[in-house]
Symmetry: C2
Subunit: 187 residues, 2 copies
Amino acid sequence: MLRDTLTFVSSNEEKYREIRGALAGCGVQVARVVLDLPEIQSLDPGEVAAYKARKAYEHLQAGPVLVEDTGLGLVAWSGYPGALIKWVLGAVGEAGLCRQLDAWDDRRATATVVLCLYDGREVRQFVGQTGGTITAAPRGEHGFGWDSIFQPDGFALTYGEMAREDKMKISMRARALDALKNYLQDG
Amino acid sequence: MLRDTLTFVSSNEEKYREIRGALAGCGVQVARVVLDLPEIQSLDPGEVAAYKARKAYEHLQAGPVLVEDTGLGLVAWSGYPGALIKWVLGAVGEAGLCRQLDAWDDRRATATVVLCLYDGREVRQFVGQTGGTITAAPRGEHGFGWDSIFQPDGFALTYGEMAREDKMKISMRARALDALKNYLQDG
């Protein structure tokens, strides 16, 4: 059903490495292109990724595309900022998000990664989620995005304090990739 | 150049009343349609409105369209949330935004309204801005959106505490409407 090459649309080199690594040995080559596509306003990373995948497919005309979007939904804020997290971090940084949340007692959050595969016919979504809490201040230098302020449930370290290999074992991205890998292997 | 009917794309009845009132006597009829169009992620209301105006024009195929977008940019947050303000208010409400800002001393903000006119050839933008501060808590029942937490410079009242007529004299929407009105009268 799928060709042997998937085009991963992302400007993020580290995400590409994670995805290529995870799909190695599954019979699918992953190429990467950087495309400046519109992202729609939504808290739901699945909705953002699906819109972007359709646009990427139309634009590239080169077979199946894979698009990732992530979200960080805060319980105290009814799921905000979700997929809009990058705008918060761009404006006030990781430390700023911690400070914005200081007026609330509940610091629980759900990190979500949605991988969206579109082959011109059907949008398929592979979702990984991890529960955790937002720390009082950033900790750790590894990873990217909000890794330094997200402490997954059951661990005393933030993603930013974990080695990449350890994080990959438990991260929401790993869970989404597992779901995608299972689909590709069964297909 | 413009037909005598402009289609204002908005789900907001009160904004429609403001616009229709301001353009009365300027020889242009304003109709309203409610359209569910994608809004792109950006802090800049001009960018959001321009994208939406093009989509609305393509969809309606009924002559010039007018689209409004608003933004509330906080100085302490490098202009965030800007055009994303509705998501913040939807998640935590006006009081919640005040609380998010409590960890910063600088409560200055710029309120922006962009009216975007698209006739199939050129996007024209009419911008109104008002400086002010975000209050410690919501005050007043008038208006909509963030009116209850925005106190314009030089006034002791929030927009939410002002009568609609008084607010219209000084609001960023009135300024954008003046610019649009001048354009329509000159054209």
